[in-house]
Amino acid sequence: MSITWENSYLGGLRKKVGPQMIIAPAARAIIQNEKEEILFVKRRDNDAWVMPAGGLELHETIFDCLKREVKEETGLDVISAKPIAMYTGPKYEYTNGYGDENKMFAVVFLIEEWTGNVLQETDETYDAKFFSINNLPDIPNLYLETIEDLEIYKLNGTVILK
Protein backbone atom coordinates (compact mmCIF):
# COMPACT_ATOMS: atom_id res chain seq x y z
CA MET A 1 0.00 0.00 0.00
CA SER A 2 1.44 3.38 -0.95
CA ILE A 3 1.54 6.34 1.40
CA THR A 4 -1.09 8.86 0.28
CA TRP A 5 0.06 12.30 -0.78
CA GLU A 6 -1.52 13.92 2.29
CA ASN A 7 0.36 11.58 4.61
CA SER A 8 3.67 11.80 2.78
CA TYR A 9 6.52 14.00 3.96
CA LEU A 10 6.34 16.20 0.87
CA GLY A 11 2.54 16.43 0.99
CA GLY A 12 2.63 17.55 4.62
CA LEU A 13 5.42 20.05 3.95
CA ARG A 14 3.55 21.55 0.99
CA LYS A 15 0.57 22.33 3.27
CA LYS A 16 2.90 24.58 5.26
CA VAL A 17 5.10 26.13 2.60
CA GLY A 18 2.80 26.23 -0.43
CA PRO A 19 4.24 25.89 -3.93
CA GLN A 20 7.62 27.59 -3.32
CA MET A 21 10.71 25.71 -4.40
CA ILE A 22 11.98 23.06 -1.99
CA ILE A 23 14.64 20.38 -2.26
CA ALA A 24 12.92 17.02 -2.75
CA PRO A 25 15.31 14.07 -2.26
CA ALA A 26 14.18 10.97 -4.14
CA ALA A 27 15.37 7.61 -5.42
CA ARG A 28 14.85 6.32 -8.97
CA ALA A 29 15.27 2.67 -9.99
CA ILE A 30 16.66 1.20 -13.19
CA ILE A 31 15.53 -2.44 -13.17
CA GLN A 32 16.76 -4.67 -15.97
CA ASN A 33 15.85 -8.25 -16.84
CA GLU A 34 18.26 -10.82 -18.25
CA LYS A 35 17.74 -9.33 -21.75
CA GLU A 36 18.79 -5.89 -20.36
CA GLU A 37 15.30 -4.57 -21.04
CA ILE A 38 14.27 -1.81 -18.63
CA LEU A 39 11.15 -1.89 -16.46
CA PHE A 40 8.69 0.98 -16.85
CA VAL A 41 5.37 1.39 -15.06
CA LYS A 42 2.37 3.40 -16.24
CA ARG A 43 1.09 6.01 -13.79
CA ARG A 44 -2.63 6.26 -13.03
CA ASP A 45 -2.55 10.05 -12.53
CA ASN A 46 -1.08 11.08 -15.89
CA ASP A 47 -0.80 7.87 -17.99
CA ALA A 48 2.95 8.38 -18.33
CA TRP A 49 5.43 5.50 -18.56
CA VAL A 50 8.00 6.13 -15.80
CA MET A 51 10.81 4.38 -13.98
CA PRO A 52 9.86 3.36 -10.44
CA ALA A 53 10.79 6.28 -8.19
CA GLY A 54 9.62 8.39 -5.30
CA GLY A 55 10.37 10.86 -2.56
CA LEU A 56 12.27 10.30 0.67
CA GLU A 57 10.20 9.97 3.85
CA LEU A 58 11.40 11.04 7.28
CA HIS A 59 12.01 7.62 8.81
CA GLU A 60 14.12 6.04 6.09
CA THR A 61 17.49 6.04 4.34
CA ILE A 62 17.72 6.70 0.61
CA PHE A 63 18.18 2.94 0.09
CA ASP A 64 15.05 2.20 2.16
CA CYS A 65 13.24 4.75 -0.05
CA LEU A 66 14.40 2.92 -3.17
CA LYS A 67 13.24 -0.47 -1.84
CA ARG A 68 9.90 0.93 -0.67
CA GLU A 69 9.10 2.72 -3.93
CA VAL A 70 10.09 -0.27 -6.07
CA LYS A 71 7.92 -2.53 -3.90
CA GLU A 72 4.95 -0.14 -4.02
CA GLU A 73 5.10 0.49 -7.76
CA THR A 74 6.21 -2.90 -9.11
CA GLY A 75 5.77 -5.52 -6.38
CA LEU A 76 9.47 -6.42 -6.68
CA ASP A 77 11.96 -6.74 -3.81
CA VAL A 78 15.32 -5.04 -4.25
CA ILE A 79 18.20 -7.07 -2.83
CA SER A 80 21.10 -4.87 -3.88
CA ALA A 81 21.58 -1.71 -5.87
CA LYS A 82 24.25 0.88 -6.57
CA PRO A 83 23.99 4.57 -7.42
CA ILE A 84 24.98 5.44 -10.99
CA ALA A 85 23.98 9.11 -11.15
CA MET A 86 22.73 12.06 -9.13
CA TYR A 87 20.59 14.78 -10.69
CA THR A 88 20.67 17.77 -8.35
CA GLY A 89 21.61 20.82 -10.40
CA PRO A 90 19.62 23.92 -11.38
CA LYS A 91 18.71 22.30 -14.71
CA TYR A 92 16.55 19.96 -12.63
CA GLU A 93 14.60 22.68 -10.86
CA TYR A 94 11.07 22.60 -12.26
CA THR A 95 7.37 23.24 -11.70
CA ASN A 96 5.31 20.04 -11.63
CA GLY A 97 1.84 19.40 -12.97
CA TYR A 98 0.28 20.55 -9.70
CA GLY A 99 2.01 23.95 -9.74
CA ASP A 100 4.59 23.05 -7.09
CA GLU A 101 8.22 24.10 -7.62
CA ASN A 102 10.64 21.27 -6.89
CA LYS A 103 14.39 21.15 -6.81
CA MET A 104 14.95 17.56 -7.93
CA PHE A 105 17.51 15.72 -5.88
CA ALA A 106 17.39 12.33 -7.51
CA VAL A 107 19.72 9.45 -6.75
CA VAL A 108 19.51 7.04 -9.68
CA PHE A 109 20.16 3.44 -8.69
CA LEU A 110 20.89 0.47 -10.92
CA ILE A 111 19.25 -2.53 -9.27
CA GLU A 112 21.80 -5.32 -9.26
CA GLU A 113 19.69 -8.05 -7.69
CA TRP A 114 15.92 -8.28 -7.34
CA THR A 115 13.26 -10.95 -6.79
CA GLY A 116 9.53 -11.32 -7.17
CA ASN A 117 6.99 -11.01 -9.93
CA VAL A 118 6.09 -7.71 -11.52
CA LEU A 119 2.60 -6.54 -10.57
CA GLN A 120 0.58 -5.18 -13.47
CA GLU A 121 -1.49 -3.01 -11.12
CA THR A 122 -0.69 -1.17 -7.90
CA ASP A 123 -2.17 1.85 -6.09
CA GLU A 124 -0.20 4.22 -8.33
CA THR A 125 0.19 2.22 -11.55
CA TYR A 126 -1.96 0.26 -13.99
CA ASP A 127 0.60 -1.32 -16.31
CA ALA A 128 4.19 -2.54 -16.14
CA LYS A 129 6.51 -3.81 -18.84
CA PHE A 130 10.16 -4.40 -19.66
CA PHE A 131 11.15 -2.46 -22.76
CA SER A 132 14.21 -2.91 -24.92
CA ILE A 133 16.32 0.28 -25.19
CA ASN A 134 15.73 0.14 -28.94
CA ASN A 135 11.99 -0.08 -28.55
CA LEU A 136 11.04 2.34 -25.79
CA PRO A 137 7.52 3.70 -25.41
CA ASP A 138 6.88 7.46 -25.34
CA ILE A 139 8.79 8.48 -22.21
CA PRO A 140 9.79 11.86 -20.77
CA ASN A 141 13.27 13.10 -21.81
CA LEU A 142 14.43 12.68 -18.23
CA TYR A 143 14.33 8.89 -18.65
CA LEU A 144 16.10 8.97 -22.02
CA GLU A 145 18.80 10.94 -20.22
CA THR A 146 18.85 8.40 -17.40
CA ILE A 147 19.29 5.57 -19.90
CA GLU A 148 22.13 7.43 -21.64
CA ASP A 149 23.81 7.95 -18.29
CA LEU A 150 23.48 4.26 -17.52
CA GLU A 151 25.42 3.48 -20.72
CA ILE A 152 28.11 6.02 -19.77
CA TYR A 153 28.29 4.59 -16.24
CA LYS A 154 28.77 1.07 -17.61
CA LEU A 155 31.86 2.29 -19.50
CA ASN A 156 33.73 3.82 -16.59
CA GLY A 157 32.02 2.92 -13.33
CA THR A 158 31.98 6.49 -11.99
CA VAL A 159 28.80 7.95 -10.51
CA ILE A 160 27.62 10.72 -12.84
CA LEU A 161 27.07 14.00 -11.00
CA LYS A 162 24.81 16.55 -12.68
Binding site: I62, P83, P90
Partner: protein, 146 residues
Amino acid sequence: MVGNEKVIMVVAGAFVLDKENRVLMQKRADNGQCGLPGGFMELGENVQDTARREVYEETGLILNELELFGIYSGPQYDKVFPNGDQVSLVQISFICKSYTGDLVESNEESLKNSFFSLDNLPNNIFTEHQVFIDDFLSNNTLPIIK
Protein backbone atom coordinates in the same frame (compact mmCIF):
# COMPACT_ATOMS: atom_id res chain seq x y z
CA MET B 1 6.35 28.45 8.14
CA VAL B 2 7.29 24.97 9.28
CA GLY B 3 8.15 26.10 12.81
CA ASN B 4 9.93 23.37 14.68
CA GLU B 5 8.59 20.46 12.62
CA LYS B 6 11.17 18.12 11.18
CA VAL B 7 12.44 18.98 7.72
CA ILE B 8 14.69 16.98 5.40
CA MET B 9 17.79 18.99 4.56
CA VAL B 10 20.74 18.21 2.34
CA VAL B 11 24.32 18.85 3.42
CA ALA B 12 27.48 18.26 1.42
CA GLY B 13 31.11 18.10 2.42
CA ALA B 14 34.44 16.69 1.37
CA PHE B 15 37.53 14.77 2.31
CA VAL B 16 40.18 17.04 0.84
CA LEU B 17 43.51 15.24 0.54
CA ASP B 18 46.84 16.89 -0.08
CA LYS B 19 49.76 15.40 -2.01
CA GLU B 20 50.89 13.56 1.10
CA ASN B 21 47.43 12.00 1.48
CA ARG B 22 46.68 14.03 4.60
CA VAL B 23 43.06 15.02 5.17
CA LEU B 24 41.83 18.56 5.75
CA MET B 25 39.96 19.09 8.98
CA GLN B 26 38.64 22.19 10.66
CA LYS B 27 38.35 23.05 14.32
CA ARG B 28 34.70 24.08 14.39
CA ALA B 29 33.61 27.48 15.69
CA ASP B 30 30.42 26.02 17.20
CA ASN B 31 31.91 23.36 19.47
CA GLY B 32 35.68 23.30 19.08
CA GLN B 33 35.68 19.73 17.76
CA CYS B 34 37.48 18.79 14.52
CA GLY B 35 35.25 18.05 11.56
CA LEU B 36 35.19 17.91 7.79
CA PRO B 37 34.31 21.09 5.91
CA GLY B 38 30.78 21.24 4.50
CA GLY B 39 27.35 22.79 4.80
CA PHE B 40 23.77 23.08 3.66
CA MET B 41 22.68 22.90 0.02
CA GLU B 42 21.17 26.01 -1.54
CA LEU B 43 18.73 26.40 -4.42
CA GLY B 44 20.37 27.04 -7.78
CA GLU B 45 23.36 24.73 -7.28
CA ASN B 46 24.10 21.03 -7.66
CA VAL B 47 25.32 19.03 -4.68
CA GLN B 48 28.96 18.93 -5.75
CA ASP B 49 28.88 22.74 -6.06
CA THR B 50 27.53 22.81 -2.50
CA ALA B 51 30.64 20.97 -1.37
CA ARG B 52 32.88 23.27 -3.40
CA ARG B 53 31.23 26.44 -2.14
CA GLU B 54 31.28 25.36 1.49
CA VAL B 55 34.88 24.20 1.37
CA TYR B 56 35.87 27.50 -0.25
CA GLU B 57 33.96 29.55 2.33
CA GLU B 58 35.45 27.63 5.21
CA THR B 59 39.00 27.03 4.03
CA GLY B 60 39.80 29.19 0.98
CA LEU B 61 40.56 26.13 -1.17
CA ILE B 62 39.10 25.77 -4.68
CA LEU B 63 38.34 22.13 -5.31
CA ASN B 64 38.86 20.45 -8.67
CA GLU B 65 37.37 17.07 -9.48
CA LEU B 66 35.13 15.41 -6.90
CA GLU B 67 34.39 11.73 -6.48
CA LEU B 68 31.28 10.58 -4.60
CA PHE B 69 32.31 9.03 -1.29
CA GLY B 70 28.91 8.36 0.26
CA ILE B 71 25.26 9.18 0.92
CA TYR B 72 24.27 9.05 4.60
CA SER B 73 20.58 9.50 5.37
CA GLY B 74 17.85 8.25 7.68
CA PRO B 75 16.70 8.81 11.26
CA GLN B 76 20.06 8.05 12.86
CA TYR B 77 21.28 11.37 11.47
CA ASP B 78 18.32 13.41 12.70
CA LYS B 79 19.29 16.34 14.87
CA VAL B 80 17.85 19.27 16.76
CA PHE B 81 19.62 22.60 16.50
CA PRO B 82 20.03 24.88 19.51
CA ASN B 83 17.18 27.08 18.21
CA GLY B 84 14.78 24.12 18.25
CA ASP B 85 14.82 23.41 14.49
CA GLN B 86 14.50 19.70 13.81
CA VAL B 87 16.19 18.31 10.71
CA SER B 88 16.58 14.94 9.06
CA LEU B 89 19.88 15.10 7.21
CA VAL B 90 20.78 13.72 3.81
CA GLN B 91 24.58 13.97 3.86
CA ILE B 92 26.58 13.74 0.66
CA SER B 93 30.33 13.45 0.99
CA PHE B 94 32.97 13.66 -1.71
CA ILE B 95 36.67 12.94 -2.03
CA CYS B 96 38.92 15.57 -3.58
CA LYS B 97 42.58 15.03 -4.33
CA SER B 98 43.23 18.11 -6.40
CA TYR B 99 42.70 21.74 -5.50
CA THR B 100 44.12 25.23 -5.87
CA GLY B 101 44.20 28.25 -3.62
CA ASP B 102 45.78 29.00 -0.28
CA LEU B 103 44.50 27.43 2.90
CA VAL B 104 42.94 30.02 5.18
CA GLU B 105 44.13 29.34 8.70
CA SER B 106 40.93 30.51 10.35
CA ASN B 107 37.81 32.63 9.76
CA GLU B 108 34.27 33.05 11.17
CA GLU B 109 33.40 29.46 10.43
CA SER B 110 36.51 27.60 11.39
CA LEU B 111 38.87 28.32 14.24
CA LYS B 112 41.67 26.42 12.55
CA ASN B 113 42.07 24.52 9.29
CA SER B 114 44.86 21.99 8.89
CA PHE B 115 45.81 18.78 7.16
CA PHE B 116 46.18 15.66 9.28
CA SER B 117 47.93 12.43 8.46
CA LEU B 118 45.46 9.52 8.46
CA ASP B 119 47.35 7.72 11.19
CA ASN B 120 47.58 10.84 13.29
CA LEU B 121 44.05 12.29 13.30
CA PRO B 122 42.97 14.66 16.05
CA ASN B 123 41.36 12.94 19.03
CA ASN B 124 38.43 15.33 19.35
CA ILE B 125 36.69 14.46 16.10
CA PHE B 126 33.23 16.03 15.68
CA THR B 127 30.87 13.33 16.93
CA GLU B 128 28.61 13.52 13.88
CA HIS B 129 31.54 13.06 11.49
CA GLN B 130 33.09 10.08 13.25
CA VAL B 131 31.17 7.66 11.02
CA PHE B 132 32.59 9.33 7.89
CA ILE B 133 36.14 9.09 9.22
CA ASP B 134 35.66 5.45 10.25
CA ASP B 135 34.27 4.57 6.83
CA PHE B 136 37.02 6.50 5.07
CA LEU B 137 39.68 4.55 6.95
CA SER B 138 37.92 1.24 6.32
CA ASN B 139 38.66 1.05 2.58
CA ASN B 140 35.16 -0.21 1.76
CA THR B 141 33.90 -0.09 -1.82
CA LEU B 142 32.64 3.33 -2.77
CA PRO B 143 30.20 4.94 -2.76
CA ILE B 144 28.96 4.11 0.72
CA ILE B 145 25.17 4.22 1.05
CA LYS B 146 23.91 4.19 4.63
